[in-house]
């Protein structure tokens, strides 16, 4: 009996391989810490509280949107439409208030509801229509851009209540409000994916959809949920960014897609599905945030920034990938 308990302890310990296994598993964290340390030592103003808050705020909405995409990637799909969804939701939110004269609360509610519809449309095409997600969401991407431009003619829409800016620019106990949002969303996603049945099902579906189905998981439902979460979090990001810029803009999310993908993949999520981690995604965002910030603090020439950023990224990923056990 006692020996059996001992074996149970041994066989149920997460990192039974010791520190080494832990470090390998979380190499991205250690690489981040290393980069952070280097920056702290070599760059003058890097470690100032204000600057760290800068970084955290800059990546807040990026993280939130990336966490949405994470779910879609986790089940082996892709949502290319998030960038234009962010734009559309932004002009909708501002437009409903400024042009249609709705209360901001109603507008927020409508935008959130529409995000669910949007996610369902993507889901329907991909999960039920069996259209490869790349094509399906590329199409919705274009259609959403079209609608956003039709609605706004490409003009920024102002007229949002000024308190909204607090959401994007405000501070609470010297920490930017967006950072709280990010922490909240991250914590929710973490608990959801690690400690709930539904959340764990995403991994099962992504790893092997057939096996998941035969184990009683409603694979289609999970697929729909993934697209809805993605759309919803993109919209949350859009609301935040709109609050930050205080205007609705159809091009608000234009650069987002690639950044989001970088963050998600950098965080160790497999584009083939089934593998990845919420904390990794947020770490990925921090990594990107620190690199961008450091680059400007050092004053690297803009053209070189592309190159230097690339070289740092590839170094990080090379080390990370090759430290993992096969």
């Amino acid at each position: 009996m006692t020996t059996a308990t001992a074996t149970y302890a041994a066989k149920s310990t997460r990192f039974s391989g010791g520190v080494r296994a832990f470090v390998n598993e979380w190499m991205i964290l250690f690489l981040f810490l290393a980069l952070f340390a280097i920056c702290s030592v070599t760059i003058d103003r890097f470690l100032e509280l204000g600057n760290l808050m800068n970084i955290a705020r800059q990546i807040s909405f990026l993280s939130i949107v990336a966490l949405g995409q994470f779910f879609v990637i986790l089940i082996g799909h892709l949502d290319l439409s998030i960038g234009s969804a962010i734009g559309l939701q932004s002009v909708l939110l501002a437009g409903l208030v400024a042009n249609q004269g709705l209360s901001i609360w109603v507008a927020l509610l409508m935008v959130m509801l529409s995000s669910i519809v949007l996610g369902m449309v993507n889901g329907l095409f991909v999960i039920y229509g069996k259209v490869p997600s790349f094509i399906a969401t590329l199409v919705t991407m274009n259609v959403l851009t079209g609608i956003a431009f039709l609605y706004s003619r490409g003009l920024p829409i102002s007229g949002l209540p000024s308190w909204l800016n607090y959401l994007g620019m405000g501070y609470l106990f010297s920490v930017p409000v967006p950072v709280y949002l990010m922490v909240l969303v991250t914590a929710a996603c973490y608990v959801f994916t690690q400690h709930t049945e539904l959340g764990r099902s995403f991994y099962a579906v992504g790893g092997n959809a057939d096996a998941a189905r035969l184990s009683g998981i409603n694979v289609k439902f999970i697929g729909m949920v993934a697209f809805i979460i993605c759309s919803f979090l993109a919209t949350l990001g859009s609301i935040g960014l709109t609050a930050r810029t205080m205007s609705g803009s159809a091009t608000l999310g234009d650069a987002m897609l690639f950044e989001v993908m970088t963050v998600v993949v950098l965080g160790g999520t497999s584009l083939f599905g089934g593998r990845g981690n919420v904390l990794g995604v947020v770490l990925g965002a921090f990594l990107i945030g620190v690199i961008s910030n450091a680059m400007v603090l050092i004053g690297v020439n803009t053209y070189f920034q592309w190159i230097v950023k690339g070289l740092i990224l590839i170094t990080v990923v090379l080390i990370d990938v090759n430290s993992k056990r096969k």
Partner: protein, 340 residues
């Protein structure tokens, strides 16, 4: 945007570097004595035109070495969020003043307000007029820029002059816009059509939006298709030279370049070369000098920031110029390094 309750603003982390709510200078920094970091937030480096603005700022520094300014330029890549992050990071890097070429007429305002209030950062807005909801949010010292509508109007005038001399009463015009460029594209188009329609109410202006890459290649493909559809086209204008040259190349390919006239906008060497070479298809190029813009913006920033000079709400720059076959010889365009 409105006030925030950020303690870091009033209690700098370590008194020496982070600035206070008051204007720059109160943190011990002395303009002219200490090196002053000036940020340049450039709309995009994809368009060579903005290099001119950068060049203008650098020119100012060369002429005013006593100011001891050091520049740091950051590319917004036409993206609002990049623009915002760049501004914040520039301030974190210690920039006292920033010349901003915003990505649209609003999105950057709250960030400028925030940085101005918390760090005392001084701004001059270049190129893109800002329209704050609340006049109190106009925290920038002045706006130095061109009027996008005027740019379109000048192009329209070139077209009008041509139609008048050619005696065309109901010309057909194709105008290639870039819808993703939003306001800029709309302003230019509106300026153009206003002038043309005033002079020729019967003119038919067909707006074609380039939904592709917004480059020569996509414009060329678009125009190839338009040429197929439109049996008669008298003139082509567009959002910028990439679009118009693309259209021109398509017309050459379809053997219709001789019957169509082209008006360039915003500056490309190739167009000026065509005009200088006497290429009959090209009747003009409408230009604004970005070097003057950059120089003036920097000048205004320094004067307001370091010398405490009051600035007007807006700095007027020379009107856009139309370079035509008639006056091309007057310009030293071959030496404009920013010309694409």
């Amino acid at each position: 945007g409105n006030a925030t309750s950020d303690p870091t603003a009033t209690e700098p982390a370590n008194g020496t570097t982070t600035s206070t709510t008051e204007a720059a200078g109160s943190d011990g920094h002395v303009f002219g004595e200490d090196e002053t970091l000036i940020g340049g937030s450039i709309f995009t480096l994809q368009y060579a035109w903005f290099l001119g603005a950068q060049e203008g700022m650098e020119k100012w520094a060369e002429e005013n070495p006593e100011a001891k300014v050091r520049f740091q330029f950051e590319d917004s890549q036409q993206d609002i969020q990049t623009n915002i992050s760049n501004l914040e990071n520039l301030v974190a890097a210690g920039a006292k003043g920033i010349v901003v070429f915003p990505t649209d007429s609003r999105a950057i305002i709250p960030t400028m307000v925030d940085l101005h209030k918390r760090n005392g950062t001084q701004f001059v807005v270049g190129d893109y007029p800002q329209q704050p909801d609340d006049p109190a949010d106009a925290v920038w010292n002045t706006f130095v820029g061109h009027d996008m509508v005027a740019l379109g109007e000048t192009a329209g005038q070139v077209a009008v002059d041509y139609f008048e001399s050619a005696g065309k009463k109901d010309p057909t015009i194709v105008y290639i816009s870039v819808p993703t460029s939003g306001e800029v594209s709309i302003d230019r188009f509106e300026g153009f059509s206003k002038v043309v329609l005033e002079a020729f109410p019967d003119a038919k202006i067909i707006e074609e939006g380039d939904t592709g890459g917004g480059d020569r290649n996509s414009a060329q493909s678009l125009m190839e298709n338009v040429l197929q559809r439109e049996p008669v086209i008298d003139l082509v204008a567009g959002h910028n030279d990439a679009e118009v040259i693309g259209a021109y190349n398509a017309a050459v390919g379809a053997n219709r370049a001789a019957e169509i006239k082209f008006v360039g906008i915003a500056g490309d060497k190739e167009v000026l070369q065509y005009i200088q070479d006497g290429n009959e298809s090209w009747i003009g190029e409408v230009l604004q000098d970005p070097v003057v813009l950059g120089y003036t913006a920097m000048d205004a920033l320094w004067k307001s920031m370091a010398e405490g000079e009051e600035m007007p709400e807006q700095y007027d720059l020379p009107k856009p110029e139309a370079i035509t076959p008639a006056n091309v010889a007057d310009y030293d365009w071959q030496n404009w390094s920013w010309l694409g």
